[in-house]
C-alpha cells in the first residue's frame, strides 16, 4: 500500500479553561490516502473540528495546545514544521472550508481581492494571471458572470454563493487535501446537495483528497469512501460507507443512524435514538465514554476504556461488546 497522504497518530489537543483542562481531542489516529474522500461524523463538541484545526495548526496557544501526536502530511511531520513552511502548507497543500459562509469571508474586501490574495500567496504567477485563475475558479464553482462578480463584496452574495466562493478559494491552488468543516450546515437543504456535489466533483477532477467533517450522517452518505465516527474526543468506529450504514458495530453509530434525517425517509416513527448528553471532556466518565448513554453497557464498559480494534465484521470499532451485539439486525429492522 502506498504511503498515505495524511497520517495522524495519537493526536491529543487540550484546552485550558478556568474549570480545568478540556481534552477536546484525546488520542486520535487515522490515515487519509491521496484522492480519498473521508467523512468525520459526530455530535457537536466531539472533537472533529478540533482535529481539523490541529491538522492546520490553527490551535492558538496558550488557550489550546497540541500536547502529543504526529501529523504526517506528504512525508513531513506538520507539527515539526517551522511557521513559515506551515504557511506554505495552509491554503497551498491543505485547504479548508468553514461552516458559516456568512462570516467566513472578510466583509471589507471584494471576493476578487480575497481570491487573488490566496493565489498570489501560493503560486508563482503575475497579478493578471492570478486574476485569470481566480475568474476561472469562480466559473468552475458555477458562479455566473464570474469576471464581473470579482468586484463584488461578500455581502452582495447569497449564502450558497458565498460557500461556492469559499470552495473556489480552497481549490484555487490545487491543494492535495481539502478539509471541509460542516460546509453545508448553514445552508438550506436544496442548496446543501448542490454544494456537496459541486465540491466533490471539483475535488475529484483535481485529485484532491477530502476530509468532510459533519454532524449529519445524511450528508456523508453516498459521498464518502470511508467514514469515521468520533465521540468525546476519540474515534469510536471507522469503516466504509456500506459498513457504517448497513452494519454499524458501535452502539453510538447505531444511535446516530437512528436519528438520521434522510431525504428518502418514509418511516414516520423513530425506533431509537441516543439518549442523554455528551460527557464532560474535563472529567470524562471512567471506562467507555459512551457508557452512561449506552443501552447495552455492562460492568466492563464501566471499568475499562475500549480501544479501537478490528472487529469481526472488518471495520474498526472501539466497543467491548462490538462482537456480541447484532446491531445490524436492529438497524435493518429499524430501517424496514
Amino acid at each position: 500500500m502506498a504511503e498515505p497522504l495524511l497520517n495522524v497518530e495519537d493526536l491529543r489537543t487540550y484546552f485550558s479553561t478556568e474549570e480545568g483542562v478540556v481534552k477536546a481531542v484525546d488520542g486520535v489516529s487515522f490515515k487519509v490516502n491521496a484522492g480519498e474522500r473521508r467523512g468525520v461524523v459526530g455530535e457537536s463538541g466531539c472533537g472533529k473540528s478540533v482535529t481539523a484545526m490541529s491538522i492546520m495548526r490553527l490551535i492558538e496557544p496558550p488557550a489550546g495546545e497540541i500536547v502529543t501526536g504526529k501529523i504526517e502530511f506528504d512525508g513531513r511531520d506538520l507539527l515539526q514544521l517551522p511557521e513559515a513552511e506551515m504557511q506554505e502548507v495552509r491554503g497551498g497543500e491543505i485547504a479548508m472550508i468553514f461552516q458559516d459562509p456568512m462570516t467566513a469571508l472578510n466583509p471589507v474586501y471584494t471576493i476578487g481581492d480575497q481570491l487573488i490574495e490566496t493565489i498570489l500567496l501560493h503560486q508563482d504567477v503575475s497579478k493578471s494571471e492570478a486574476r485569470q485563475i481566480a475568474i476561472g475558479t469562480l466559473a468552475d464553482v458555477q458562479i455566473p458572470n464570474a469576471a464581473a462578480r470579482m468586484e463584488d463584496y461578500p455581502h452582495q452574495f447569497s449564502g450558497g454563493m458565498r460557500q461556492r466562493v469559499m470552495i473556489a478559494m480552497g481549490l484555487s491552488c490545487d491543494p492535495k487535501l481539502l478539509i471541509a468543516d460542516e460546509p453545508t450546515t448553514a445552508l438550506d437543504v436544496t442548496t446543501q446537495a448542490q454544494i456537496m456535489t459541486l465540491m466533490l466533483e471539483l475535488a475529484e477532477q483535481r485529485n484532491t483528497a477530502v476530509l468532510l467533517i459533519t454532524h449529519d450522517l445524511g450528508v456523508v452518505a453516498g459521498f464518502c469512501d470511508t467514514i469515521q465516527v468520533m465521540y468525546a474526543g476519540a474515534i469510536v468506529e471507522r469503516g466504509t460507507g456500506d459498513e457504517i450504514f448497513h452494519n454499524p458495530q458501535h452502539p453510538y453509530t447505531w444511535g446516530l443512524l437512528g436519528s438520521m434525517t434522510r431525504l428518502d425517509e418514509t418511516q414516520q416513527e423513530r425506533l431509537h435514538s441516543v439518549r442523554g448528553a455528551p460527557p464532560s471532556l474535563i472529567n470524562p466518565p471512567k471506562g467507555c465514554r459512551f457508557g452512561p448513554r449506552c443501552d447495552f453497557a455492562t460492568d466492563i464498559c464501566r471499568e475499562a476504556l475500549p480501544i479501537l480494534h478490528q472487529s469481526q465484521e472488518g471495520q474498526r470499532v472501539a466497543c467491548h461488546r462490538a462482537d456480541e451485539l447484532d446491531l445490524k439486525a436492529l438497524a435493518i429492522g429499524a430501517a424496514s
Binding site: 474586501y109 481581492d113 490574495e117 498570489l120 497579478k127
Partner: protein
C-alpha cells in the same frame, strides 16, 4: 492585491493631504493682520470703580527694586509682561477701552497731563511742565463761579513721528470724548464750558469748581494722525503715533502685543540724562490661567507678572526670591466693607431687620473681629481698615471707625439697648454677599461664630455674583451686605466716594445703594441732611483748606452712624525677576505696574 495596495496608499495620502490642507488653512496667515483671534477677557471685577480713574494707596510691604549697586543701565533687550486678560481694544475711548488691561498696555504708548508715581503714589506732571493748582496760579476761580485750568505743555514733548504735541491735541481729545455717538464716560469733560488753545498751551473752563480736574486728560490723541479717519474702527487694533516710550509693533490676537522702542521719545533719565527708554521692546503676553502665569514666570518665560494676590500664589512666588525674584505685596485700592440696607428691600431678605436702629448697628460693629479676618483671609499681611479713606487718601482720613473695637460684651450691651428700643426679644441678622469669591465665603463662615458669641440669630444667604450685583443690589434686597469699592486718588477720588452715600442719589442714577437717607429710607434725619450738604459743598470747591474739614466731618458722620463698616483693603502683588530686569516698581493704583516702563532695563545683557 495591486488595487488593495494602491487603495491603502491613497487612503493614507488622502489623510495626510487632509491634515496638511487643514494645517495650511489654519496656520497663521502670512500677513498678521488677518489674524483676528479674540481672547477672553474677564470683565472688570464686579466691585466696579466708584470713580474710574486712578488711585493712590499706601505701600505696606515695600520691596525696593531699584538696587543701589547699579551696574549701569544698558540699552537693549526685551521684557515680557504677562497678564490674565487681553485688551479688547487699544483705544481707551471706545467701548471696552475702559478695561484696566488697556491702560496697562497703554502705558507704553500714551501720555497725558499727569500720572501717578509708583514710589510716592502722588500725581506727577507728565506732558505739562507742572500740575496746575490754585497755589501756582494754574487754577483760577473766576468771579462768575466758573473755574479755569491752564496747562503748559513741555517744549520737548513730541509724538513718535516727530510732530510736536500741542494744545490742538488736547482740544481734539476733548472733542472726541464729547462725541455723542461714543458711549464713554464724559464726567467732568461735559462740564467744560470754554477752551483756549495755544501752540504749547491749553486751558479750559469748568462751569463750577471741581477737584475732578486733577485727573482728566490722562491720555491724549494725536490730532494730526486721527483727524479725518474713522476713529472707532481704524484705531482699535493699532496704536496711534506714540507719545510714550514705545511704539506699536505686533498684535497677535489672543497671544501677545509687542511694542518696540520709540526712537523719538522725548523723555530722558533724570539721573543719567540718557535718552529713554532703555529696552528695545516689551511683549505683553496674555495667559488666562493664574497657575500657568506662575509656571511661565518660574520658567523665566515671562519677566513681570501681577497675579491675583491669593495667599498660595504669594507663597509660591516668595519661594522664588532666593533665585532672584522680587515679589511686591502691597495693599491695594480695593476696599471691602460691611454695610446695612436702609431701603424697604431689606425686609424681603429679613422681615425682622433691625438696620434702622443705631445701637444695633453699633453692636454689629463691635461684633466683628477685623484682626481675625485679616489673619484668616490675607494671612495677616496688612492691617485692617479704620476708614474707607485709608486705602486711598490716608492723609485725609481720621480713622473714624477706630472707635469700634472688637468687644463682644460691648456689642451685647448695644444689642440689649436695641432690643428694648425696638421692643423685641431677639435680633435677627441675614448676611448676603457673593458666593463665588473664596474670601467672602470664608468671611461668612467667620461671621457665624462672631454673631453666635453675641447672641444674635444669624444666617448666611450668599448668592452668585451675577445675582448679587444684579437684582439684589439694584433693588436693595439685602439686610447685612458685603462687597468692595475701588478707591481713587487725590481729592477728586476721595470726593467721588462721598457720592456713594449721597441721600439725593439713589440707584439707578445715583450710587447710594445703601439707601441711607434716600426717599424710601428708614433713616432720614439731621445726619443724612448734613451729609447731603457736605457732598454738595465738596463738589463746589478745589481748596484743600475747605475740602479736608468737610471730608473729615462726613467721614465722622458715616462712622458714628455706622452706615458702613470698612473691613480691609485687598492685596495687590507683582513679581519680577530682579536679577534680569531693573527699574521695576509696582504701582498698586490703577496706573498699573507698567507706569514707568521707560525706566526698565535688562541686567543680563
Amino acid at each position: 492585491m495591486n488595487r488593495l495596495w494602491r487603495s491603502r496608499r491613497v487612503l493614507w495620502l488622502a489623510v495626510l493631504l487632509a491634515f496638511a490642507m487643514i494645517a495650511a488653512a489654519c496656520g497663521d496667515s502670512d500677513d498678521s493682520a488677518d489674524e483676528t483671534t479674540a481672547a477672553p477677557e474677564t470683565t472688570a471685577a464686579p466691585e466696579t470703580t466708584a470713580a474710574p480713574e486712578t488711585t493712590a494707596a499706601p505701600e505696606t510691604t515695600a520691596a525696593p527694586t531699584t538696587t543701589a549697586a547699579d551696574p549701569g543701565k544698558q540699552y537693549g533687550g526685551e521684557v515680557v509682561v504677562a497678564d490674565d486678560q487681553e485688551p479688547p481694544t487699544l483705544n481707551w475711548a471706545v467701548p471696552g477701552g475702559d478695561n484696566f488691561i488697556v491702560s496697562i498696555v497703554g502705558e507704553s504708548y500714551w501720555a497725558g497731563v499727569q500720572q501717578i508715581n509708583g514710589f510716592t503714589l502722588e500725581l506727577d506732571p507728565e506732558l505739562v511742565t507742572e500740575l496746575p493748582t490754585v497755589g501756582n496760579g494754574g487754577v483760577v476761580i473766576n468771579d462768575d463761579g466758573t473755574m479755569t485750568v491752564n496747562y503748559q505743555i513741555r517744549d520737548e514733548a513730541v509724538w513718535s513721528d516727530g510732530t510736536p504735541i500741542s494744545g490742538d491735541d488736547l482740544q481734539f481729545t476733548l472733542d472726541i470724548i464729547m462725541d455723542p455717538d461714543l458711549p464713554i464716560d464724559k464726567t467732568t469733560y461735559e462740564d467744560i464750558v470754554a477752551t483756549e488753545v495755544g501752540d504749547k498751551t491749553f486751558s479750559y473752563t469748568l462751569s463750577q469748581p471741581s477737584a475732578l480736574y486733577e485727573l482728566i486728560f490722562s491720555a491724549i490723541f494725536p490730532k494730526h494722525a486721527i483727524e479725518g479717519t474713522d476713529f472707532t474702527t481704524d484705531w482699535n487694533e493699532t496704536m496711534w503715533p506714540s507719545a510714550g516710550p514705545f511704539v506699536f509693533d505686533t498684535w497677535q490676537k489672543g497671544e501677545f502685543i509687542k511694542v518696540v522702542r520709540n526712537e523719538n521719545y522725548w523723555k530722558t533719565d533724570p539721573e543719567t540724562g540718557d535718552q529713554l527708554p532703555y529696552l528695545d521692546s516689551v511683549v505683553f503676553r496674555f495667559i488666562p490661567e493664574t497657575e500657568s502665569i506662575i509656571t511661565a514666570f518660574k520658567g523665566r518665560e515671562v519677566d513681570v507678572i501681577q497675579p491675583p494676590p491669593a495667599t498660595e500664589t504669594i507663597e509660591a512666588l516668595q519661594a522664588l526670591e532666593p533665585e532672584g525674584a522680587i515679589v511686591e505685596v502691597l495693599s491695594g485700592p480695593v476696599w471691602e466693607h460691611l454695610n446695612f440696607q436702609f431701603g424697604p428691600g431689606r425686609l424681603e431678605r429679613n422681615e425682622n431687620s433691625a438696620n434702622e436702629n443705631l445701637n444695633y448697628r453699633k453692636g454689629v460693629a463691635h461684633t466683628i473681629d477685623k484682626d481675625l479676618i485679616v489673619d484668616e483671609i490675607l494671612a495677616g499681611q496688612v492691617e485692617p481698615l479704620d476708614s474707607f479713606l485709608e486705602p486711598v487718601t490716608p492723609s485725609i482720613s481720621t480713622g473714624a471707625w477706630a472707635q469700634y473695637d472688637y468687644n463682644p460684651e460691648t456689642a451685647m450691651e448695644y444689642f440689649e439697648t436695641a432690643k428694648s428700643e425696638l421692643g423685641v426679644d431677639e435680633l435677627f441678622t441675614v448676611f448676603s454677599t457673593t458666593s463665588n469669591n473664596d474670601a467672602r465665603v470664608k468671611l461668612s463662615e467667620l461671621f457665624v461664630n462672631m454673631f453666635a458669641d453675641v447672641g444674635v440669630t444669624y444666617e448666611n444667604q450668599l448668592e452668585d455674583s451675577q445675582l448679587f450685583f444684579g437684582e439684589t443690589l439694584d433693588n436693595g434686597l439685602w439686610d447685612l451686605g458685603e462687597w468692595a469699592w475701588v478707591g481713587s486718588p487725590g481729592f477728586s477720588g476721595a470726593i467721588s466716594l462721598y457720592d456713594l452715600f449721597d441721600p439725593e442719589a439713589p440707584p439707578p442714577d445715583g450710587g447710594n445703594y445703601y439707601r441711607w437717607g434716600t426717599e424710601d429710607s428708614v433713616v432720614i434725619d439731621d445726619n443724612t441732611a448734613r451729609f447731603a450738604e457736605i457732598r454738595d459743598l465738596l463738589n463746589q470747591s478745589v481748596d484743600p483748606d475747605e475740602l479736608i474739614p468737610l471730608m473729615q466731618e462726613g467721614e465722622q458722620i458715616l462712622a458714628d452712624q455706622v452706615v458702613i463698616f470698612p473691613l480691609y483693603a485687598r492685596l495687590v502683588t507683582a513679581a519680577v525677576w530682579g536679577d534680569e530686569v531693573g527699574g521695576f516698581k509696582h504701582n498698586p493704583t490703577q496706573q498699573g505696574h507698567t507706569w514707568n516702563m521707560e525706566d526698565w532695563y535688562r541686567l543680563d545683557l
